[in-house]
């Protein structure tokens, strides 16, 4: 017998298997949602080292990473550059249109994409991609429309957790981890 939770996990794994491009929201996902303001506006953005390593592991396994975000920041430009993010679109109030744009540029369909978000503004993307993921702080309404929710919080390992989940679903995680033991 399969419990509903096991069935949901199995579906999430099957969907994660098809991900060729993994897309991330920024505030609340790659960060914990805090906005560090100085007198001229946002002065700092706080990312996490585990998340950055996870995105690099995805890239090394042939899965591209991308960013769609509602806000806009030169700080994010720098971080995305350091992480080798393949595609980024900032200041997107209508994220659904950004997804179409991204798919065209990277020559993939939404059925080959995953997305991780945290708020209702992410729903137009979450409801269109093959694999929709959320952080624990997302509202119940958002969580109703995703296939998988991380245990680690946004900005504190949620991105690494979803990267590991995708790599495991695609049967690539063990080899990556074992390589560090040799």
């Amino acid at each position: 017998m399969t419990t509903p939770i096991e069935a949901a996990l199995k579906e999430a794994q099957q969907r994660a298997r098809d991900v060729r491009v993994m897309i991330f929201d920024v505030d609340g996902v790659l960060t914990d949602g805090r906005l560090y303001y100085g007198p001229e506006g946002e002065a700092l953005k706080v990312f996490h080292v585990l998340d950055g390593h996870g995105m690099k592991l995805l890239n090394s396994a042939g899965i591209r990473t991308a960013i769609i975000t509602g806000r806009s920041s030169p700080i994010l430009d720098k971080r995305a550059h350091d992480l080798g993010v393949a595609w980024m679109r900032q200041g997107q109030e209508t994220k659904g249109a950004a997804l179409i744009d991204l798919c065209k540029d990277l020559q993939v369909s939404p059925d080959e994409c995953g997305y991780m978000g945290d708020d209702i503004i992410d729903l137009p993307v979450l409801t269109r991609v093959r694999f929709a993921a959320a952080v624990p702080a997302a509202s119940a309404f958002v969580k109703q429309h995703v296939h998988w929710v991380a245990q680690a919080s946004g900005g504190m390992g949620a991105v690494r957790e979803v990267c590991n989940f995708i790599l495991a679903a695609q049967g690539k995680l063990d080899a990556i981890q074992q390589a560090f033991l040799e």
Copy 2:
């Protein structure tokens, strides 16, 4: 039969229904109360992306947002500007007078206002408005004088939670959320 908790929630919902202007304290409410000091004084203030979206949702539903705070900061000027806050008064040691001032400027009565605070300095406002809310870190003494306490902490979603609570009480939340699914 109605339990005391259900009765209190029902009263909070009825009061939230009448809110035309929602007023926020800053330190401890729009932030987690941390003061980031450099050698010249406060160098950063840390807000939250979910809270900012909540205030914009209130505005889009015709409920104005305002700020009354005991401290004073050019950083807050910038954040309030980015969020389109209708009215702000900083450096208010006697917040009760600031409430009267605000009501005059926005042509509302305290009976049409809500306020969210965290400390005893907020009591002169909390005891005068129609709908009084507090963050979880508020003392027991402060909580005795409010109608509703958020579950999320100040600076980490408490403001978004009270925005959603007001929108739900006024029957406006479902339509707002559903719009992101279309």
Copy 3:
């Protein structure tokens, strides 16, 4: 019958009753112990608004506040100035000597002082003052030598909690809180 916990609490209250000067450590007590470094060393120190209000309440009730700290920082100078701290000594490797110095300057004896600390470097002060308090993150060894441990963490309300505890022990808290209801 009095339980050991009740007896300990009663002794702490009796000791807090005699406090004329309350002394605070900085890192780990007025902050959460985090050191925000830039390339030139410590760039920020993060205090808490509730703690600052608590120190001002002590002052308004005639109890002076002081600081003894092992580190040294112009940032702390600014914060202490903003809070009206009566006496501050930084860069004190031997805190016991600093306590004697402080008592001489403020014309009090250690039996009229309280101190809140977090580490073994604080023991020479904690073991000499009338009322010794610690934050929850202090080690078991440090906690063995104090009369009271806060529930709130350092930098997140521990200082406010001990200020309220002292004011309550001296029978001054109720009047202070009630004044905000009038």
Copy 4:
């Protein structure tokens, strides 16, 4: 009868007894893994006062401290200088080679070293040293290859905890703590 947990603890203590050089990873160990970015890249690194005291206690007990890290930062230079770290190598993608390099410079063997890490990139060091430690946020895969896991988080006391553990295993902690009571 000895339980498996008691046996593991005893082995960790025996191994910690042999540590002459204790080596630390930075991001996730000396910090909580957060990367504070400004427009030009990493602007701040956040260390902890308890951890710094722990490293100084190790030094005062004749145990040298060292750092091997995958990233590179002038901020870390400053912090290491303030803490009197004997040896530091930054920007090490292959940490196993850095360990060999370190052992040569400090004239010790890996069997006289301890290391604390948090991610799979640390495994080539963790599997070679005498005493391997991890922070709680390390993955299950990493934890399988260490002898001891701290209870405090990285950047919030994990380093202090492992310093105390080593000092206790070597029979040096009691004297150090008692000295602060005299």
